[in-house]
Amino acid sequence: MRLFAVLLLTLVATKALAEPVRLPILVPVTGFLSLEGTSQRNGALLALKQAPPGLATGEVSDTATAPENAVNALLRVLDQGPVPAIVAPMLGTQMLALMPTAVEEKLALLTVSGTASLTERGNPWVFRFFPSDRLAKEAHVRYAVEQLGKRKLALIYQTTAYGQSGASYIAASAKRHGAELLFSEGIDTDVKDLAPILGRAAASGADVLLFHLHAGSTALAVRQVAALGITLPVIAGSALHQPATAALLEPMELKGVCAESGSSPVSGGSPRLDRFLAEYRQAFGADPDAYALAQYDATQMLLDILARGARTGEQVRAALAQGQWDGVAMHYASDGRGDMAHSALILCYDGLTRVPRIVQRYDGLDAG
């Protein structure tokens, strides 16, 4: 009788191990973040494709833009049974909405959202594989101050949540590094004529122009800087590093412009990166951006943890919190709050191609 019970238990356990783990991929494939959300999805899917067969199966759900969409998508996932972890949307408001459920259901959220506050709420289930906006803006400002030697900054940011929080990090970072923010102003995403604001920024006495804008506004701003003949150096936010954003502009218009980013897969640089680039292009017929690469790294780390036998949310969480991962983009390890990424890059364009060159790398940004 006892033997039978042990046999049965073993059978159940093997079956549980043999059954592929469900990996829900909840990302905004439609709506205003669909470009980034699609990158997230592709990165996760590519990692899944390269995983040992039978380990995990991806289930993609579109979270669009509303926070309740993300919550509903997660509840639908959980209707089919518990999952140890999900690829969670990079949209900050959706993450905030998902976090209580993650605690209740004990599942890890792997995201590439930049919204800094996600890891500042003491939620042990959030893991971010992308430099938070706080770190990214630190790199943004340090490049202007340390590498370019500019201490009078002008900032144009978007009046969205993303833009406003980024602007406050830039202001704080400028203060820390002894630079003066002479001009700081927001624009709506529907502003098409940036000449007035660029004109005032240039006339403010600043010696460097920082942008913290979404893709469309970034491209318009870079274009109009070129058209207006503004000669100040320009450091844009991470939107510019996305190949789709650079594609909006003529290489000529990009000449001398720099941008901050977590990584720049199209710039290549290491054999692993080149291999990722080739496989990504082959699978999706498009160029990857830093979000795709970060989510690829995150998913690979998760798959490795699953391959070692972790099946419950608690097991996965512990492994993510204590483990380290040598990713393609960078080295990942939690700082104790779920921030796994601590590096950022500065890229610059030479005016001849749309592929940027990595000019500066900042590691251990949150160490100080």
Partner: protein, 295 residues
């Protein structure tokens, strides 16, 4: 010229170029308004669709935008016919709110469709006549902006002539005012309306191509445009062509100049404030038009 004056002149010039873009959207809106009395909230989304048509064509045919223009316009005219069959015909005997909601719904469907097909990221369309700046003395104007200004002038005059001076235009306005009587007088009202939807869509195609180069196109880019166009039509006088163009130019000038001296956020807030004020002081708009109804 003193520096301040020069800055102001440049702001005005930029504002005019952007206003011309808004005006072009408003023209299509007014055309359908004059033909059917219907408020076509999808005009902005048709401009967006025209932009994507231009992007797609430019991918296949790498020639200057000017050569793609007739193709985009023809394709969009065909779409206009489909649009009238879906958003206008089924609701023409219902209260106007039905048609309005149908255009809103169809516009949203277009946005979602383009989002699914092309993604949300901005895409750049073909340049009409190359890229670069044209110097007007000390002032600079991009070729794209010049194209938009010229198109606004040309298409605005053409539409004014079409509506005001041709038999087609007379019949269109009569049909909008009293479709039942127009029918009894032998006017082929349905056909006229179908043609006006085709014209409005072809216009949207032209505008979509013109704007997709300098300002890019996203699935939601029509929303920003229709909002400005709607305000332009409301302050210009409901249905007045001249009013719509003047209204659009005023909106953009206002935005550019306020953004040039205060801030861009202040400009948007001040714009809506000014619109409210204008509608309170002069509820029928700058150029009161025969169509008394508003929606």
């Amino acid at each position: 010229m003193p520096a301040e004056l020069l800055t102001f002149a440049q702001l005005v010039l930029n504002g005019l170029a952007l206003g011309a873009a808004y005006a072009l959207v408003a023209l299509g809106f007014v055309l359908v308004l004059n033909a059917t009395g219907a408020v076509n909230f999808a005009q902005g989304d048709m401009v967006m669709l025209g932009g994507y048509a231009a992007v797609a064509l430019a991918r296949a045919l790498p020639v200057p935008g000017l050569l793609l223009l007739p193709l985009v316009m023809a394709a969009m005219a065909g779409f206009g016919l489909l649009f009238s069959a879906l958003a206008w015909r089924p609701f023409r005997h219902r209260p106007p709110i039905f048609g309005l909601l149908a255009t809103v719904a169809l516009g949203l469907a277009l946005q979602e469709a383009m989002n699914a097909l092309e993604g949300a990221g901005p895409q750049a369309g073909p340049a009409l006549l190359g890229v670069g700046e044209i110097r007007l003395g000390p002032l600079g104007l991009s070729r794209a902006s010049l194209g938009i200004l010229l198109a606004c002038l040309g298409l605005g005059l053409a539409q004014g002539w079409l509506l005001g001076r041709t038999q087609f235009g007379r019949r269109l306005r009569a049909s909008a005012q009293d479709p039942v009587t127009a029918r009894a007088l032998g006017i082929p009202v349905d056909r006229l309306i179908a043609v006006s939807f085709m014209l409005a869509a072809a216009l949207a195609g032209a505008v979509g191509l013109l704007l997709s180069g300098p300002y890019f196109v996203t699935p939601t880019s029509g929303t920003d445009l229709i909002l400005r166009a709607y305000i332009a039509v409301a302050i210009g006088g409901w249905g007045s062509l001249r009013g719509a163009v003047v209204g659009a130019l005023l909106i953009a000038l206002f935005e550019s100049v306020v953004a040039g001296y205060a801030s861009s956020v202040a400009a948007t807030a001040a714009l809506y404030g000014a619109v409210l004020l204008l509608l309170m002081v002069r509820p029928s708009g700058l150029f009161p038009a025969p169509l008394g109804r508003r929606a």
